[in-house]
């Protein structure tokens, strides 16, 4: 295990790319999400049939999330995040967060733990 970083992502930033930028800010090349919560304007979740689930807000609350940020073979960073969100009636939806389509509404709090792969 390496370092640990806590970040607060501001409104109108994308959740997925925000976590990638948080890694850039701290020099992490690989990281695990240790704890995270916050709100989105609307949520956009992937599904197995190639369609997406669009959950209308604001705000859509992120009530559970798991994921990682990994270095790709081309040297870029990519976050993979999956979780459960709730709408303004408390109804829940789940799936992978689509990069570029999950915009923070008020704030997103996240703790990342740097992962140092062996070798």
């Amino acid at each position: 295990m390496g370092r640990v970083a806590y970040g607060r992502i501001a409104p109108n930033e994308d959740l997925v790319q925000g976590l990638e930028k948080l890694c850039l800010a701290h020099g992490f090349r690989n990281a695990f999400v240790r704890g995270a919560l916050g709100s989105l304007v609307d949520a956009c979740l992937g599904s197995t049939n190639g369609k997406i689930v669009h959950v209308a807000g604001p705000a859509v609350e992120v009530v559970s999330i798991a994921g990682e940020v990994r270095s790709k073979p081309d040297g870029s960073l990519a976050a993979s995040l999956s979780g459960v969100v709730s709408d303004t009636d408390g109804n829940v939806y789940g799936g992978p967060f689509v990069a570029g389509a999950n915009i923070v509404c008020i704030t997103f709090e996240v703790t990342l733990e740097e992962w140092l792969p062996a070798g």
């Binding site: 390496g2 640990v4 607060r8 948080l22 009530v63 408390g90």
Partner: protein, 187 residues
């Protein structure tokens, strides 16, 4: 290296950019790091509020800032709220009235421990729950009004050291938000 471009139909609705009441802050990610973090497995004590069951043992161990994952468990009572648009215009959204989930099961939750504006402990918790009537819901838990059921509930804690999480007014959103802040090592 050969690069290829592909064109496809827009796979998702265009994201919305909301206009907040305050001045745009050019710093979009506020963050701090520490060389390492301590992990603790905590058991929430039956009969206590979620707030007291989290804050008490962590405070006794000198932990004031942490990220936690709450594993599944039953609550004698659970109160939560959601965040619809703020019709007053003071902020983009506002917390709605408390909703009673009754004797509920927390499927999983994440909670951040920090300090409120006045320095008192503060817990910000979101969770997916199964309410007493069997409906699965999610939202912002009012941790002082959630009472741990008869079985202790495990919590995985990542303790944050070298900096603290402090609630402060965020001018852009006009809301009180937890933000990382450096603290003096001595005093």
């Amino acid at each position: 290296m050969t690069k290829t471009s592909t064109y496809s139909d827009t796979p998702f609705p265009r994201p919305r950019t909301l206009v907040h009441p305050g001045r745009f802050n050019p710093v979009r990610i506020q963050s701090l790091d520490a060389q390492q973090a301590r992990h603790i497995r905590l058991l929430l004590e039956p009969g206590k509020s979620l707030f007291d069951a989290l804050v008490g043992p962590l405070s006794e161990n000198g932990i004031a800032s942490a990220s936690t994952t709450i594993l599944g468990g039953s609550f004698d009572t659970l109160t939560y709220c959601v965040a619809p648009p703020d019709l007053s215009g003071k902020s983009v959204i506002a917390y709605g009235k408390p909703l009673q989930a009754g004797r509920a099961f927390m499927i999983f939750g994440n909670a951040t421990l920090g300090k409120a504006v006045d320095g008192a402990p503060l817990v910000h918790c979101h969770a997916a729950i199964r309410t007493e009537n069997g409906t699965v819901k999610g939202g912002h838990l009012i941790t002082e009004r959630c009472v741990v059921g008869e079985a202790p509930i495990p919590v995985l804690v990542t303790c944050l050291a070298g900096f603290e999480l402090r609630q402060a007014h965020d001018p852009e959103t006009n809301m009180l938000l937890l933000q990382p802040r450096k603290v003096a090592l001595h005093g």
